[in-house]
Symmetry: C2
Subunit: 248 residues, 2 copies
Amino acid sequence: MTYCLSLHCSEGLVFLSDSRTTAGIDNVTLHPKMRIYEREGDRVLCILSSGNLSITQSVSAFIDRDMERAVGEAGGCCLMNQHNLYETARYVGERIREVRHLDADALRQGGLDFNINLIVGGQIGSQPPEIYQVYAEGNAIHASRESPFLQIGELKYGKPILDRGFTYDTPLHEAVKFGLLSLDSTAKSNLSVGTPFELFCYRAGDLRVSHRMVFPEDHPYLKDLRDRWQNGLIQLVHEIPPLDCLLR
Amino acid sequence: MTYCLSLHCSEGLVFLSDSRTTAGIDNVTLHPKMRIYEREGDRVLCILSSGNLSITQSVSAFIDRDMERAVGEAGGCCLMNQHNLYETARYVGERIREVRHLDADALRQGGLDFNINLIVGGQIGSQPPEIYQVYAEGNAIHASRESPFLQIGELKYGKPILDRGFTYDTPLHEAVKFGLLSLDSTAKSNLSVGTPFELFCYRAGDLRVSHRMVFPEDHPYLKDLRDRWQNGLIQLVHEIPPLDCLLR
């Protein structure tokens, strides 16, 4: 499995992903699930992926193919020349449909669903930053001030922490902590999600990739965050008064 | 959906369940998912149920039928006359198989799985308290010192809090708080799980039902627990140092 999430707050965007891919318990490998595309001063885009690895890799290959064509004489439509983020998300959705056309029938014959979910986000020029979830059917939804985060993959374990604490008004450096805790909690409760974690923290208006990090299992910041969270959480429960009737 | 859980600690057992049952979003009703059977001084048993409501109600009906027979002249095997908790769990598993024999084919023809999961726990005489999960196939597993809790239904949202903080050595009144937080977090993140919550807290050796409570949505203790948790959690995240690079 996979767990990827993206948080949208007033100061910018946070993208996080784990790196574990499984095809049965004997075949656990690491694959990046975060791809960043940058043209400094013009646009920064980030794509997070979950689902069937061959489908997500095919989508990436088609995105790369179109970008190579677009810089050549033929020109044409590609990920990095869309007018806005909605059209960028729809462009990615079209690439999913292209892979579906190619592979869905054969996968179904093998008993496999056409399973892919993507998060596409970033900023283009002076437009506001946005994040979109693109479904296996190629359609898309965006996050909003009221629903300021998107999750794909193994999303349930890490949702309560976001539901309790993260809002659009959370500062960017706090949002990173909420995201890392959501990801680390998922990894602790589900063996199929694991380190290294990839982080891309984008500050609105930057139009370049400034804060990108990889956290291996023994990263000092991750270990400190995890310890403080675990101890703090137990202390917090301890400070809640018990039910009276249990003390009698 | 449903979420039920049971925690096993050195001082006793905690059983918790929500009360929401759904058959599509237009048909949301309340049904108890916790049944307690008591013969004071001899044994106390608690059964939590998730899955298809007609299956869980049929299992209960068969349990009641056997108990009525057992007190009559015919006698016979019933929930309340098993030698130990393992045999009690297996007895309940046999009742699931009885319902399967009756209904599984017809359900399958209607496109429905034979979906039921039960938690069966309690204490018999001087034997140690135990909790078992009984599957749709009628087989069972028990919790242990190393894996001291069982969950059925919509279990992912409420697992991280238990994984982080609850152990076999957690005091009973603390275990109740962990259980309520796990249940309330699930209700907050998933609309299909909701109040009223039912709690049965059993202290080892009691052999009677002393602490049983129902928490409606506006129960003062539940509201206080929820507020303290939400505020404390945000404060806890706030106290974790941010990544250095984000402050530059």
